[in-house]
């Protein structure tokens, strides 16, 4: 995978402008740069690799359709992830898979058993390889903690941007991240 987002690379806004003009190379660079964060973000909602790949593709197609209307009022990545979120939640709604969740409004903190109702993963965690162990543990986290960990740890978003993307305040995103990391350490170490 290429190295995205560094200052020596063209800015997103520049690539968007070129892509709008029909520059296929600029479009490809945008997809290369952001497909990972979109995939991991929607995986955080869907917990299914195939669905996450499909929704990632749908997200980019929707973004391409709307690219000419992108005014740059927010960062391109924030805009992209907002569309990804809508796509993922739309799929969940259409499949009726989303369960009601308890949410601690003060901290954006959710607690309780596994959201998908599966049994505790401890036994499977011990047997699975490292990547699978991490996936199972991540899936076990409440949604906002899972998304905060993914966006901050895996893709380096600021807490402000994490908050914008998951619909929380910056402080709540930070708290969710630290709670999530604490729990993962407890389960995986």
């Amino acid at each position: 995978m290429s190295d995205p987002g560094r200052s020596r690379d063209p800015a997103d806004a520049e690539l968007v402008e070129l892509a709008v003009q029909g520059d296929a190379r600029a479009l490809e660079q945008l997809v290369i740069r952001h497909q990972g964060v979109v995939y991991r973000f929607v995986l955080g909602f869907l917990k299914d690799e195939d669905l996450a790949a499909d929704v990632t593709q749908d997200t980019f197609l929707k973004v391409l359709d709307r690219l000419e209307g992108f005014r740059g009022e927010s960062a391109f990545r924030t805009w992209l992830l907002a569309i990804a979120r809508n796509e993922a939640l739309g799929l969940i709604r259409s499949r009726g898979r989303r369960r009601e969740e308890s949410i601690d409004e003060a901290g954006g903190f959710e607690d309780g058993p596994f959201e998908d109702g599966r049994e505790a993963p401890d036994a499977r965690v011990l047997e699975a390889d490292d990547v699978a162990r991490i996936r199972v543990a991540l899936d076990r986290l409440p949604e906002k903690q899972r998304l905060s960990v993914s966006l901050r740890l895996f893709d380096g978003l600021s807490f402000r941007e994490v908050g914008e993307v998951i619909g929380s305040l910056e402080g709540a995103a930070r708290v969710n991240y630290h709670y999530g990391i604490g729990r993962l350490r407890e389960w995986l170490q």
Partner: protein, 178 residues
């Protein structure tokens, strides 16, 4: 509604939240770990050199933060990655999508035409020979400007020769003669 166990869990979580210097350092650990890792693919913020040095110095003397840094480095190294085929799938779907069959030829031709027109205009402007200044304008400038204000054939202080009535032209010529 939370059970008693849930409340205990929340309480434990609040204890787990780092405080003081450790909190600031742990906020930065994902960026620190990413910059220290050889693996590419991190679109995150750049960690300032001052912050990077501060984190490194803190990790030398804080075992728990050092352990967290090692832990999140392991997590990061095993983050979920999209399937290798996803990029080509997206680009292929984008090419086939209705409304995205946009030809790049027309915009390029239009841009080229605009650039050519601009270049031609600039070239014409710069290559134009300056017109010799008529002798009589020197004489006009020597006249009290107030005499010429308010005349229809004056624009920004310059007489429009073509618009001068014949009697005015005669007057000018007479004034210019010694």
């Amino acid at each position: 509604m939370r059970s008693e166990d849930d409340n205990d869990s929340v309480f434990e979580d609040r204890l787990r939240e780092p405080a003081g210097e450790c909190a600031r350092i742990r906020d930065l650990l994902p960026l620190y770990v990413a910059q220290g890792s050889a693996s590419p693919g991190f679109a995150g913020e750049e960690l300032a050199e001052e912050d990077r040095a501060g984190v490194a110095e803190h990790l030398v003397r804080c075992a728990d933060c050092r352990e967290e840094a090692r832990f999140i480095a392991e997590l990061r190294a095993r983050r979920p990655e999209p399937p290798a085929s996803l990029l080509s799938s997206i680009l292929e779907a984008a090419r086939k999508a209705p409304g995205r069959q946009k030809s790049t030829l027309l915009p390029r031709l239009l841009r080229a035409a605009a650039v050519a027109a601009l270049a031609l205009g600039i070239g014409t402007f710069w290559q134009r020979e300056p017109e010799p200044e008529p002798m009589w304008t020197v004489a006009l400038e020597a006249q009290p400007a107030v005499d010429w204000y308010g005349q229809d054939w004056l624009v920004a202080g310059e007489p429009i020769v073509e618009a001068l009535p014949d009697d005015m032209l005669r007057m000018l010529v007479e004034e210019m003669e010694p």
